[in-house]
């Protein structure tokens, strides 16, 4: 029996994610209860909004330490989406000052490179190139279109063994997918990426 919890920390499109999960035939709970989160098989950390506010909200609900603890316990699979991916990192420069994150992904969040032709935010469907070892790669092609809407992204990782990284390209290449042990993260929004996104969520929930 899957126990899927969408973490409610006041940041994000919780309804979009629960509709997508319902469409796949699973039930999920929107919750910030420690008991429910500890008892879950899959947690989804959504996130739309600003990094500093997200971290403040996580701390107010004592979710920061809880998520770090759960990440050590291999039984629960974690998926961070967009800002939910970024807060798993060590820090972010959003808001012009450095804010610390949860530190589970060993890199920092920086502004996406832009120009007159590559305006911010980066909006729309773009290709994600999954690493070939990842279960998320398509059977035919390893590239698939997913919806993005963001101005910040993960800085290239230097020392993170055993992680699988997927990339997308805007003005330059950036990290759009991360996987290590039970921790998964996407810069794109699977819940907003038509059937490509639903297939992705289905694979995650089947883990």
């Amino acid at each position: 029996m899957k126990k899927i919890v969408i973490i409610d920390y006041g940041m994000g499109n919780l309804h979009s994610i629960s509709s997508a999960i319902r469409r796949l035939g699973y039930c999920s709970k929107i919750s910030f209860s420690e008991d429910e989160i500890l008892d879950s098989s899959h947690i989804i950390l959504p996130g739309v909004g600003e990094f500093r506010k997200a971290m403040t909200n996580l701390k107010i609900r004592s979710l920061d330490k809880l998520i770090i603890n759960i990440s050590k316990n291999q039984k629960t699979k974690i998926l961070g989406i967009c800002l939910g991916m970024q807060i798993l990192c060590q820090s972010s420069e959003e808001g012009n000052t450095k804010t610390n994150g949860l530190g589970l992904i060993k890199t920092d969040v920086v502004k996406l490179e832009s120009s007159d032709d590559y305006k911010l935010p980066h909006i729309g469907f773009n290709e994600v190139c999954f690493p070939k070892e990842s279960i998320f790669k398509n059977k035919v092609s390893i590239k698939k279109d997913f919806y993005f809407i963001h101005s910040f992204c993960l800085k290239e990782l230097t020392k993170d063994n055993n992680s699988l990284i997927g990339y997308s390209e805007y003005k330059n290449r950036f990290i759009s997918f991360y996987q290590k042990d039970n921790l998964f993260a996407t810069q794109f929004h699977p819940e907003k990426s038509q059937s490509n996104g639903l297939s992705f969520l289905k694979l995650f929930l089947e883990l």
């Binding site: 979009s16 509709s19 739309v48 390209e169």
Partner: protein, 263 residues
Amino acid sequence: MKPKKRIIFTLLYSSGMFVLSRNFRLQSIGDFNWLKKNYNFDNVSFHIDELLIFDVSRDKKDKKQFCEVVNKLAENIFVPLTVGGGINTIEDASLLFNSGADKVSLNTAIFRKPYLAHEISKVYGKQCLIGSLDILRIENEFKIYTENGENLIGSLEDFLARNDILKDIGELYINSINQDGTGNGLDMNLVKLLKEKSKTPYIIAGGIGKIIDIKESLKNDYIDALGIAHLLNFIGDSLCKARNICRESGVELAKWPDFNNLG
């Protein structure tokens, strides 16, 4: 690499009914049940990149009823959903986010409530905020009008330089009042002005009436995102066909398989 180009469908809602607009005069077409059953909107929504819903009710807007419609629509749509119309406070915006909106859109309130865009972007992020502007061309000048096209604000070109406002807005939705609902195609001079002056990403709308208009517009380098609001001209499979025709002529659009083969 540029993201794929976007076909964005705009639903106009007025006092319980979905409506067609022609130069901002409204004509009722059908209610939510009509949209779901007769129009088969779920099928239409599988062939678009984003959906916008604007409450354009001219009388007092029934916010609760509108939220219920948004909620019901959001249930089966797996692309970003932007909702606008009558947002005057952050509470109005929060209600819509809680009803399933991924982004909200401000029009009149950009000018009438100068702090609202900042308040919303501080909580939800600027990427969640679309600035919707209705533009009337008078001779060769483009003017912004608010309140359903009735109140003159000023020049679009001046507005595009207003970083104090635009710093809180993720994207603009630019609708031509002259072209609205006419099916005469986009105003290409308006597109050119946006290309030259806008530092903010923009969706261009107003005048798209046929599949060929979609293809011709998206072939243009200046256009990344196209808004379509003509409910009756894009019935049945026409958006699916439009995507195929665009691709055949070299327009890069996102691809996804049929929903029946999730796997």
